[in-house]
């Protein structure tokens, strides 16, 4: 009997095995390729883009961000009201929302998630993004009140980020530290199936989902299963897309984009409003980097246009100012103060300041050599960007030493005081957010790696963050942009473009890119076969 059972089971398994490829072929999941995985997928614990890009699909936020990166649209909240003093936000929730396990979402779930995010006890690295919270409470089943100690002009943008995702309390409590590692439950268009770290994250359609943000044509997900695959090597990633082993990626090497565009059936699109900027920041309290003249000369000596063109193969855009021109509250007057590319003028400036060229061509002043060390992450573009800058700076007698680190150790190294400057790429949604994140003295030593501690900056940053009036906010954050531009604390380099490449099996892909998430909610995407 046992033998017979074993035989039958074996035959069934064999039949299933042969049948499996057929059914898999019929319902082949949408395969999205990326180069790096997140450390976990708990919205409040991971700051990485790799987590955000998946979390937007797995969970929802109260509000959504439109493709222009400036307009806030409804999300889980149908509407909201802000009190005249800017301290109380009242969100009216949708009543048709369900978690992946079928349980209806209530105001209590939203309160729990937002408190979890902002409560200092949870030690979330992103809790500061929630502002100075006084209280978050539910009023009835469909109203949430978010009360602040002081106005916070960025709140709606921050609540639209994946960190403020609404999650299921039961799942969080059940899984504890393994929430977002071994399992997940939220109200996103797709539901967590399985995560194999550094390999793949599998998600399936949320069968209840009908509440997609109005920025999409169809509020319902169209794909049964999505697999996010990690291919760390960019040549392999390119070959996989070319060979149609995968459907979508926004990590295609820039050099390959033209070739992809020429391939029949392949769609290549660019998000013009993408904000992911690359800059070099100086530690302003280090011997050479503390010299304003050196910083200004570096800003003048580096040929940013050539870098944007050559390193990104014609697909990059020069970052002409401290911030991206597409960002909310970008200040044109401050941008005009940014030194223009002029190596001869840079050399003159250094000469006038007493930095004279020595026998080796390297400048020095009072026995101090014009040399500084830059740290950064070793990725596809940083080695080439820094080397190009190094060559430019050599021409004016400044020696820039490059030390790039593998992503696994880079963040630790970038938290030290060992370096004089650093190269970084970062996503952001508003000018107030970006500058408060990097230049508030409270944020030193990281992310304020510049050690920029200035009372005037702090005052204006606070004025911008707590402004109730949009004009006043723009004025305050504009003043910070002007001050930092004049101080040459940063060398803005390139606005990293977002290009989404999709194969002929896919339609409806539209590049979004909030916080680096190229596909955002992943709605409107359909598979032809």
């Amino acid at each position: 009997m046992n033998r017979l059972t074993a035989l039958l089971l074996g035959s069934a398994a064999a039949v299933a095995a042969t049948a499996a490829p057929v059914s898999a072929q019929q319902k082949a999941p949408l395969s999205i390729l990326r180069v790096i995985d997140a450390d976990n997928y708990d919205p409040i614990r991971s700051t990485s883009t790799a987590a955000a890009e998946a979390l937007y699909m797995l969970a929802d936020t109260l509000v959504s961000v439109d493709f222009d990166m400036k307009t806030i649209k409804p999300g889980l909240a149908e509407s909201w009201k802000v009190s005249p003093d800017g301290t109380t936000y009242t969100f009216k929730l949708r009543t048709d929302v369900k978690f992946c396990d079928g349980r209806p979402m209530t105001a209590e779930d939203v309160v729990y998630s937002l408190k979890r995010w902002t409560d200092p006890a949870n030690k979330s690295p992103v809790s500061f993004r929630g502002g100075q919270v006084k209280d978050i409470r539910a009023e009835g089943d469909a109203t949430v009140v978010y009360e602040l100690k002081e106005p916070y002009s960025d709140l709606l943008f921050q609540i639209g980020l994946s960190f403020a995702s609404v999650v299921d309390k039961n799942a969080v409590e059940k899984l504890g530290a393994n929430f977002g590692v071994q399992g997940f439950n939220a109200t996103g268009p797709y539901c967590w199936v399985k995560w194999t770290p550094r390999q793949e994250l599998v998600m399936k359609k949320n069968p209840h989902y009908t509440w997609g943000p109005p920025i999409y044509k169809d509020p319902k997900p169209q794909i049964d299963e999505i697999v996010w695959k990690i291919i760390p090597e960019s040549n392999t990633l390119m070959a996989a897309i070319q060979a149609k082993q995968a459907d979508v990626t926004y990590y295609m090497p820039y050099i390959a984009l033209d070739t992809m565009q020429r391939m029949p059936g392949m769609q290549v699109q660019r998000q013009d409003n993408y904000i992911y900027d690359i800059f070099m920041g100086f530690k302003v309290d280090k011997p050479v980097a503390s010299e304003g003249v050196i910083r200004e000369a570096v800003n003048m000596a580096v040929n940013k246009d050539a870098i944007a063109k050559a390193i990104f193969f014609g697909k990059g855009q020069t970052l002409p100012a401290l911030l991206n021109a597409s960002v909310l509250d970008f200040d044109k007057d401050a941008a005009a103060k940014m030194p223009k590319y002029d190596p001869a003028a840079a050399a003159k400036l250094l000469d006038a300041a007493g930095w004279k060229a020595g026998a080796d061509g390297l400048r020095e002043k009072d026995g101090k050599k014009a040399t500084f060390t830059v740290y950064g992450i070793r990725n596809d573009v940083n080695p080439r960007i820094t080397e190009a800058m190094q060559a430019d700076l050599r021409k004016v007698g400044i020696d820039m030493k490059i030390q790039l680190w593998d992503a696994t150790v880079a963040w630790g190294k970038l938290a030290t005081q060992e370096f004089d400057a650093f190269v970084m790429a970062y996503p952001y949604v508003t000018a107030t957010e970006a500058l408060n994140l990097y230049f508030n003295s409270r944020q030193a030593p990281t992310p304020n790696r510049m050690n920029w501690k200035d009372a005037k900056t702090d005052e204006m940053l606070k004025a911008a963050a707590t402004a109730v009036d949009a004009d006043k906010r723009k004025q305050a954050i504009g003043a910070v942009q002007a001050q930092l531009t004049e101080a040459n604390v940063w060398v803005p380099l390139v606005s990293q473009p977002l290009w989404v490449v999709s194969g002929d099996r896919v339609e409806g892909v539209r590049a979004h890119g909030v916080y680096g998430a190229g596909l955002y909610k992943g709605l409107d995407i359909k598979l032809k076969r």
């Binding site: 050099i255 050559a310 390193i311 190094q390 060559a391």
Partner: protein, 302 residues
């Protein structure tokens, strides 16, 4: 016919001197003659000489500045700009290859010199002073069990990546290998009668080691050094490929190969050319090392 034989025999008998002890010694061909008779060895010798000359004369041979980039002319194919094209920063490939060769050979040379000096010392001491032999050789066994790449990673983590880190790692990785080779051949030499004679004459240990032991082990050392040089270059290039070695803008063959891998499908020359140079250099040193071993091994002499 017979008259000719007779004449010859007569002539020989008249012209040849009487046989001496020298005539009973089988004359072996010299090392150089053996090397020259081997075509592979000749080619590798020429290549090694060319490679070393190219590395030494790089600043005079290179057509342009190895660090001066030209972002308007990046990734130009061979022939399109310069004989071998340009790299990702628009620098001339010939220049970068020459300077890369210089760094790579310097890295290999320094590692082999430091590693072999220390390893040789350990080997001689272990062979001569049998009391410390066990301890020293077990220590060498421990070192042997660490892969060179792991050493490189550990040292780069402590001192930061760079040529020094690679040289330290490769030197340490060379020490146990050299110690083994030297100890092995020194033990054989130590059993010879002339060592016994030197001891009985009251010569100091240092004098015996430097006057008799070292010269008699030189052939084994020389062969090891030549073969190790090729291995060290390969390992050094691998460490640089991983980003642990030469830092920009220094040209180094392994780092150059790594730089080009992102454009492998579009500008293969950026990666392929330095890889090819590594291949040729390592092959040349290996073939030369093999030929030297054959030439210096009495058992293989004809």
């Amino acid at each position: 016919m017979s008259s000719v034989t007779q004449t010859l025999a007569k002539g020989q008998a008249e012209s040849l001197p009487a046989p001496t002890t020298e005539d009973f010694i089988v004359r072996r061909p010299s090392v150089l003659r053996m090397l020259v008779s081997d075509v592979g060895a000749c080619i590798s010798l020429v290549l090694v000489v060319l490679v070393i000359a190219g590395a030494i004369l790089a600043p005079w041979l290179a057509p342009s500045d190895p660090y001066g980039g030209d972002l308007a002319n990046t990734l130009k194919a061979p022939g399109e700009m310069g004989l071998l094209g340009t790299d990702g920063q628009g620098r001339d490939m010939i220049t970068r290859l020459l300077f890369g060769l210089r760094t790579t050979l310097l890295m290999g040379f320094a590692s082999v010199v430091f590693g072999c000096a220390l390893g040789g010392l350990v080997g001689f001491v272990a062979a001569y002073y049998t009391r410390v032999s066990g301890l020293l050789m077990r220590l060498m066994d421990v070192l042997l069990s660490f892969p060179a790449i792991l050493f490189g990673l550990a040292i780069a983590a402590i001192f930061g990546p760079g040529l020094t880190a690679v040289i330290i790692a490769l030197s340490i990785a060379t020490v146990p290998l050299m110690a083994r080779v030297v100890r092995g051949s020194a033990i054989v030499v130590l059993q010879q009668d002339y060592i016994e004679s030197a001891r009985s004459l009251g010569m100091s240990d240092a004098r015996i080691i430097f006057k008799y032991l070292l010269p008699n082990c030189l052939s084994a050392i020389f062969v090891f050094v030549t073969l190790r040089f090729g291995q060290v270059i390969l390992l050094g290039a691998a460490l640089s490929f991983l980003g642990l070695g030469a830092q920009p803008p220094t040209a180094e063959l392994g780092a150059m190969a790594a730089d080009g891998r992102n454009f492998l499908f579009f500008a293969p020359h950026v990666s392929v050319l330095p890889s090819l140079v590594i291949f040729v250099v390592v092959l040349a040193f290996n073939v030369l090392g093999d030929a030297l071993r054959d030439a210096l091994d009495p058992k293989l002499r004809k």
